[in-house]
């Protein structure tokens, strides 16, 4: 029996201005398969799927569905052909209900009354039950958890009778238990005859759950093979294009040799006690947070987005007032002190959103590099800013931190993610700091940039800086942390020293499961909020 491929993309090319995102890629998807799409940031995997979903039209190449050539100009075309996509950042409107989100953008009548919403609701319920993805159609999206929202996204594709399902980093925002629940359901869908594309950079998942794997690199197809024919190391090598050591995968825990002095015996530089604060929504975002970081050590706070990391970052920076508790910097109480004072007392910050908080895009790199020191010597006095000093310092930092730019005058908004982050690092690490709060420092960066950041953090650590690392990335935590705690629903639920770090345990704790001896057993002790 010849299995006709469901989707056949041939020779797809796509440019964005000067940047060649796809340089002639072939991709084939068969019925009933789960196909993993692997690649670094910028490799083109999301772009390829965006082309399939009709978000972009390719500059060259053809797409065939069930052997018939098609032209997908808009997502509506793709949806009409049974293709559905679940994006990495959910495309749901938070203030609308689930049912309303389903109806949004639907073709059909001008009126959306109670009946139409009820029809949508019952259809949702039916699909939900069929695929084990139950969700309340009348709940407002902002009330749902991240895992539930993702279920809604998947349901939306199924609601439109998608037979080809594209999932972009589906497990990125899920806790371990939620991931455990998702993957078998995908398999069930595939067994029914649907085809699933799984975009990810998680090597373990792709090896365990897919039927075939395609690797892209710099917009080109590297290979398509079966999981049985390859390994994590081999895949990583294909992704990056050169032999990759375990170190770069973050698997090797000796990024910093364990014989190094790792802060024991130093005085604590950053002490947080009983910290509590509210979120924008009025709920309690942090509850009784206590952590202490000594000079020369890295303490990681791991957790899935939405569990309080953002608020913790803001409270430490001084952007948000805590409702309770204290923050001390080297003995000084900084709980209610301005951001400027904290910077002066030796706090450095790498914000989680580099474009929104780390840089001012419309200003040149030179000014961004001294953003927090304008008005201080040597960049000027309170009455005068010295452009020459700024330019000189900028040139120096650009070289020291290998920032790829045309010069200090280039606008920060033109830099790529990795370079932008280098600017932020350069600014923060070149100052005399005692404490560093690094929030998601490698988010969205490729392996090369990640390495760079990790190396600089390690360098700071060795110089005696106390580093608090807020991260959602387990690789990062495993590579850098001297101690790791987990933030779940606003509370610190577990803590381990370096030699006890174990990916599975941490992952489970991030999902609220603490204290079980083996993840394979049914979790009985689930931490709930009091």
């Amino acid at each position: 029996m010849t299995k006709q491929p469901t989707v056949f993309m041939r020779g797809i090319r796509k440019h964005f201005g000067d940047f060649a995102a796809l340089k002639g890629v072939d991709f084939e998807l068969r019925p009933g398969e789960i196909h993993g799409l692997l690649g670094e940031n910028g490799a083109g995997k999301t772009t390829l799927m965006n082309v399939l979903y009709g978000l972009h039209e390719p500059d060259a190449g053809t797409i065939e569905l069930h052997g018939e050539p098609v032209r997908l100009r808009t997502p509506q075309d793709a949806i009409a052909h049974g293709i559905g996509m679940v994006h990495q950042h959910f495309m749901l409107v938070p203030t609308l209900t689930v049912a309303e989100n389903m109806v949004l953008g639907e073709k059909g009548g001008a009126f959306v009354g109670k009946e139409r919403l009820q029809q949508a609701a019952s259809r949702l319920r039916e699909r939900g039950e069929r695929y084990g993805l139950a969700v309340d159609p009348n709940a407002r999206v902002w009330q749902l958890s991240v895992g539930q929202q993702q279920r809604v996204e998947i349901l939306r594709a199924l609601y439109r009778d998608a037979r080809v399902l594209i999932l972009d980093e589906p497990t990125a925002s899920l806790t371990a238990p939620e991931t455990e629940q998702l993957l078998p359901r995908l398999r069930a869908l595939a067994d029914e005859g649907a085809s699933i594309v799984f975009i990810t950079h998680h090597l373990e998942e792709v090896l365990a759950w897919t039927d075939r794997i395609t690797v892209l690199r710099h917009g080109e197809l590297v290979e398509t093979l079966r999981p049985a024919e390859t390994s994590a190391v081999a895949l990583a090598r294909s992704m990056v294009g050169r032999p990759v050591t375990l170190k770069e995968l973050g698997v090797d825990v000796s990024v910093a040799p364990s014989t190094e002095h790792r802060g024991t015996g130093n005085a604590p530089m950053l002490e947080v006690n009983g910290l509590g604060c509210r979120s924008d929504r009025g709920t309690a975002a942090l509850d009784d947070i206590g952590v202490s970081v000594r000079g020369g050590e890295i303490v990681a706070v791991a957790g899935v987005e939405g569990n309080g990391q953002a608020e913790l970052e803001e409270v430490l920076c001084g952007l948000r007032q805590p409702a309770a508790g204290t923050v001390r910097l080297g003995g000084d109480d900084v709980t209610h002190v301005t951001t400027l004072e904290r910077l002066r007392l030796g706090m450095g910050v790498i914000p989680s959103d580099r474009y929104r908080r780390g840089l001012i895009r419309a200003l040149p790199i030179g000014e961004n590099l001294v953003l927090d020191q304008i008005g201080e010597r040597p960049y000027g006095t309170p009455l005068r800013v010295s452009r020459r000093a700024i330019a000189a310092r900028a040139r120096e930092l650009i070289e020291r931190f290998t920032i790829r730019a045309t010069g200090p005058g280039q606008l920060a908004g033109e830099l790529s993610g990795g370079n932008a982050q280098r600017v932020v690092l350069a600014r923060t690490l070149s100052r005399d700091i005692r404490v560093l709060v690094a929030a998601q420092p490698t988010r969205g960066l490729d392996v090369g940039a990640m390495e760079f950041v990790w190396a600089r953090l390690d360098e700071a650590r060795r110089a005696g800086v106390a580093i608090l690392l807020l991260s959602t990335d387990l690789d990062e935590v495993m590579a850098l942390a001297d101690r790791c705690c987990v933030l779940y629903r606003g509370r610190l639920v577990a803590e381990w020293p370096r030699h006890e770090l174990d990916r599975e345990t941490i992952g489970l704790a991030m999902g609220g499961v603490v204290g079980t001896p083996s993840p394979a057993t049914v979790p009985e002790q689930v931490v709930t909020r009091a």
């Binding site: 964005f16 772009t47 978000l55 997502p75 495309m91 409107v93 203030t95 109806v103 953008g105």
Partner: protein, 319 residues
């Protein structure tokens, strides 16, 4: 002071009539802001609509023609605002103020050109009160709601229509989505900029209509400052009403009643020789609006402001 003479059916009847233009403009503004566009040009749109309505009524003798002209001008100005904010994506705060300055200048000239300055003030005939038989006999409510001019009735019908448009149509759903998370709407092929354009046209139409109601229904004349800041008050009321057209409308009407109350107290207390200076009464509505806006902003437990308000939509290149 004769309170029973001041507070009564007459107060509410005139209060509601007085408030109607502001209330209509506020509903239009709520619609625009729900789609994510901050329209600070509202005062200008009302003024433009007022002039258009006045001129058309004066020369044609027909109130209906006047109303259509007012709405038409309002729609045109809404389109201008949409062009500046949605197409060109210039700073919405600035382009709104620019629009007001533009309209104030052009209407001043147009009025002077058409009607000259000095001499007798041109007037248009006042609208008759239309008494709805039966309903107008209901005690208390009847004379207040059902003994008004025809524009009042049209306004009362228009506002629920706008609410229905927002809450019960696909377009309204798109408006609400686009004001909260335009990227999400875009991903399901909703055309964000088009929806915002249309929302601004609706806002402009409401504002133009409000201007028409003001000059044709209320004051029967035109002056360069006939709107007297109603547009700004309307914008404050949108915050107070938490961007819900019905609450906004209700709040605006409540305000009108208080405004009418203030006028009556001022008149009853003997004018310029009494204890309380009449400037206090003049300032009172604005002071109250300010207070109400501050309280609404401060006390809001969950932020009801549309998340994408004021941010032009730019499609981001997905990696």
């Amino acid at each position: 002071m004769n309170w029973s003479g001041i507070v009564g059916v007459g107060l509410f009847a005139s209060g509601l009539q007085l408030a109607m233009p502001t209330a209509l403009a506020a509903v239009g503004e709520a619609f625009s802001e729900r789609s994510g566009v901050l329209n600070l040009g509202l005062e200008g749109m009302m003024l433009g609509g007022a002039l258009g309505a006045f001129t058309a009524d004066y020369y044609s003798g027909s109130a209906a023609v006047g109303v259509f002209a007012g709405v038409g001008i309002g729609v045109l100005l809404g389109a201008l605002k949409a062009f500046l904010s949605v197409t060109l994506k210039t700073e919405q705060v600035i382009n709104g103020i620019v629009l007001v300055i533009f309209v104030q200048g052009v209407t001043a000239f147009a009025y002077e050109k058409l009607f000259g300055s000095g001499g007798t003030q041109p007037e248009i005939p006042a609208l008759h009160t239309v008494r709805i038989p039966g309903l107008a006999s209901i005690p208390w409510v009847g004379p207040v709601l059902f003994e008004q001019n025809v524009l009042f009735y049209v306004s009362l019908a228009l506002v629920p229509a706008v609410w229905l448009l927002l809450q019960r149509t696909k377009f309204g759903l798109a408006v609400r989505a686009v004001g909260e998370r335009p990227l999400a709407a875009d991903s399901v092929a909703v055309r964000v900029d088009l929806v915002r354009w249309l929302a601004l046209l609706v806002c402009g139409a409401m504002a133009g209509f409000a201007g028409a109601v003001l000059v044709i229904g209320d004051v029967s004349l035109f002056g360069t400052n006939v709107t007297a800041g109603r547009g700004w008050v309307a914008i404050a009321l949108v915050i107070f009403g938490r961007w819900n057209p019905l609450i906004v409308f209700g709040g605006a009407l409540l305000f009108g009643v208080m405004d009418a109350l203030q006028l009556r107290i001022q008149a009853a207390s003997g004018g310029s020789n009494s204890g309380v200076p009449y400037e206090v009464f003049q300032a009172l509505p604005y002071l109250l609006t300010l207070a109400v806006m501050v309280i609404a902003t401060v006390a809001a437990r969950r932020n009801a402001q549309p998340a994408a308000l004021g941010i032009p939509f730019r499609k981001e290149v997905i990696e």
